[in-house]
Symmetry: C2
Subunit: 485 residues, 2 copies
């Protein structure tokens, strides 16, 4: 948190400043409400005032709550990048460190907030549930407005979940499951509706794919997503290519967003150029629209003020920074976010995972034997070169991909801690650590494959009626998507 | 035609050259087929060869029929504009001449073809109908590929009509009827399906309107359009804001078009800038999509190869130049076009007609008395200042707005010619010419108002079921639109 406050304000855009003033204002109010020590409040107020001054110096206007700068320059990756900085946008994640991206720096750059102990404790207190290990282990490490969501939950105000996937191929790997595993937990804990967007239109626009193929990938991916086991009565999975042409509410929100975002803005946020096709340029509105409840009149009965919580990998944040800027101008609540770190490739956190390289990760279709071979052969090791050296100096968990994967998939905290200690001390060899991962992933993938098979069977013979505006049981829509095959 | 061939090729873009080579190739083929005199064929062939050379010099590639240059620079209004040139794009029509825009120059600049006597005769020959007075009098003065449409008609190949309107206000004036009057004639003559797009999304994006208001304007305008009396079993009127969210076929075509058009291209064609919202930037694809039959699976049963004929005012041509460039890359036929001249404001052809100025034209809601007063008071006269001078020197029909309006609405050729002669000679005074116009428009508007009332009555109590993909009687969709009020 201190990092964020000390960072060089000279490079901040009007919008970033606006958001910081807003956050700091909230902080001052909550400190006062909590009757915090006077000096703590005073420090916070001084920072608030200096942020307001900076805001005025940058925009020429006084800060006004709820009215973001109209002609803002949005957070831009490029100019702020120093040579040793990571690069993160929805299409590129780049780092030179084997430990992976520096997430603390990313929080500063994106202007989000850290998921700290306080927030995790509050989640536990409010929900009465043990926080998911993704929270406890810093896998969902950053957020925006998560406290608002907890306020809503405490006050029994409705909210909903929104996540998604870009179906760029039939094959999904274990890393793709992260947002869905966590979203399923959130849905269970809060017992709320969930919408899942499959951006097959995006994949058509960005990749060398036909519309038909992109849509087929969406359907294949939907099967894997359904297999995650969401509450079938509160989950709506849709492909853009299908649902946009079935929902006037969706298109109306898209046009509204598109009216309030300029090319300058998407250029700044996403790095688009004049040579990009107009489909890419206008696409961000399509990923933004499900953040607003009026996009789903069949679920929310036309209510426009239901706040949305978006669990996603941090590279998707640019879409939702844009969405949060537009929301108040449309009279909609800003979506809250929970950001995850990236899932590393088997070859190491600084290499790119690729669906076209079967050895870059464990796929949901892999056999137990393939899982074993891939991990033994390709998982980057933080161990030493010889057994003797390893016993003497120990392995390095910070760069060991098997250990990283275990933090994602091994739920038992004690066992994980034991593995870390033993590996670091040298008591545990690389082969043994890999074995622990293999034994964790094999049953997990096998169970997923079993559920996916059941999905197929369950779906057969279900209604093929098109979605109706007044349809209350939204689960049918999953079946619709399925049946379109 | 000679004008077009002599114009400076140095300023032509690759796409323009491509189109000229194509047109000239067609010309050579038709001359040969018609066994034209050898020297005429030779001249045409020489021009074809030199156009091909220019094309190669510009693009670095050999001309290949059906494969337009991939990275083309589209027709751009701005650089070609000399000081005395008119400016025409979908939002601005500007001329300094009281006679109005120089349409021959526009044909050259846009690279379209003149509706000449030969084409008009062919229309008469092929359809067995007397050509509409809009054709005989040069009101629909320009076209693209109209001969292809006549070939299709002769060969009993299906094609369809597409026109539209941007519903910027409730009020429509007589000028707005021009494309619809002509489209109705084309539908009667060819007996083919017609789709009418109401771009309420465009008006929302460009004007200070809410989505709701823009959609209401579309519904009001639809009533006036229905009152024109189209074949109710072959006409589909839709608002974008409604239909886009009801038709996956429409959205799929929009995304396909958006993938094949860059920001550079829409910047060149429409003059968009970086400060324009992304909705404007991507909108041209929405106006383009109805040019392809697969946008309407409920009408064309999924057929993708049915050619479209678009009657529209020439200012809409930029949309369809773009569409025609994209079509072959999507495997769709290029739409053919018939372009009309602009309808002058009462105050003169060089002033802008405005729906917000009730005196700038005759509105479809005007009473007989209002029509009379407006024409007598505001219609710019080409007559002389005094009766004596007028009798001596005569009036000038080229700038007289009452005479211009009569060319649009007085169907009797002999009577129109008599009025022209008498006014030019001075035998007919301005007041008498105005009287002729008043007597033409009063019954025409009254009849329209009567039909509009009947529309209302007819529509009441009709089905409110949403459009189904397999609906064969497309007329219901008009009712749907209507019933949504």
């Amino acid at each position: 948190m201190s990092n964020r406050q000390n960072c060089d304000s000279g490079s901040l855009s009007a919008l970033e400043l606006f958001e910081r003033v807003t956050i700091q204002g909230d902080k001052v109010r909550s400190l006062k409400a909590a009757e915090a020590p006077k000096d703590e409040i005073d420090t916070a107020v001084r920072l608030l005032l200096s942020l307001k001054l900076m805001y005025k110096a940058t925009t020429g206007q006084d800060y006004k709550a709820g009215s973001p700068p109209t002609d803002f320059t949005p957070v831009n990756n490029a100019p702020a990048l120093a040579e040793d900085d990571d690069f993160v946008d929805p299409w590129t994640v780049q780092t030179s460190s084997a430990k992976g991206v520096d997430y603390d720096k990313l929080i500063v750059r994106f202007g989000s907030s850290k998921v700290d102990k306080e927030l995790i404790s509050r989640i536990e207190r409010v929900t009465g549930q043990k926080p998911h290990h993704f929270l406890r282990r810093g896998i969902f490490f950053s957020h925006r407005d998560m406290n608002q969501i907890l306020d809503a939950y405490e006050n029994k105000k409705p909210f909903y979940l929104y996540t998604g996937r870009g179906p760029s191929s039939e094959a999904m790997h274990v890393g793709h499951l992260i947002p869905f595993i966590f979203t399923k937990w959130l849905q269970e804990v809060f017992d709320i509706p969930l919408v899942i967007q499959l951006t097959d239109d995006e994949k058509y626009l960005w990749k060398d794919l036909t519309v038909k193929r992109a849509n087929e990938y969406a359907i294949e991916n939907a099967k894997d997503i359904i297999a995650c086991g969401f509450n079938i009565n509160k989950t709506f999975i849709f492909s853009d290519l299908d649902y946009l042409g079935m929902s006037p509410g969706f298109y109306k929100n898209i046009v509204k967003i598109q009216k309030h975002v300029t090319f300058n803005q998407v250029k700044g946020i996403f790095g688009f150029t004049d040579s990009d096709c107009i489909g890419k340029i206008s696409f961000p509105a399509i990923q933004a629209a499900p953040s607003f409840s009026s996009t789903f009149p069949q679920i929310f009965k036309g209510k426009e003020d239901i706040q949305c919580l978006i669990p996603c990998a941090i590279d998707q944040d640019p879409y939702f920074r844009m969405t949060r800027d537009v929301a108040p101008r449309l009279g909609y609540p800003k979506p809250a976010l929970l950001h995850s770190i990236f899932f590393p490739a088997l070859q190491g956190a600084q290499t790119k995972m690729s669906a076209s390289d079967p050895n870059s990760s464990i796929f949901l279709t892999d056999t137990p034997k393939q899982i074993k071979t891939k991990i033994n052969k390709h998982a980057f090791s933080g161990g030493k070169d010889t057994i003797e050296e390893h016993r003497k100096y120990g392995g390095n968990c910070d760069v060991d991909v098997s250990y990283m994967y275990l933090t994602f998939f091994l739920e038992d905290d004690d066992k994980l801690e034991q593995l870390k200690q033993d590996y670091t001390s040298g008591a545990l060899l690389t082969g043994e650590l890999k074995k622990a991962l293999i034994e964790t992933l094999q049953p997990l993938i096998a169970a997923h494959q079993e559920r996916r098979k059941q999905v197929t069977n369950e779906m057969q013979g279900i209604s093929t009626q098109p979605v109706k505006q007044d349809q209350t049981n939204i689960s049918n829509v999953i079946f619709n998507l399925w049946q379109k095959q």
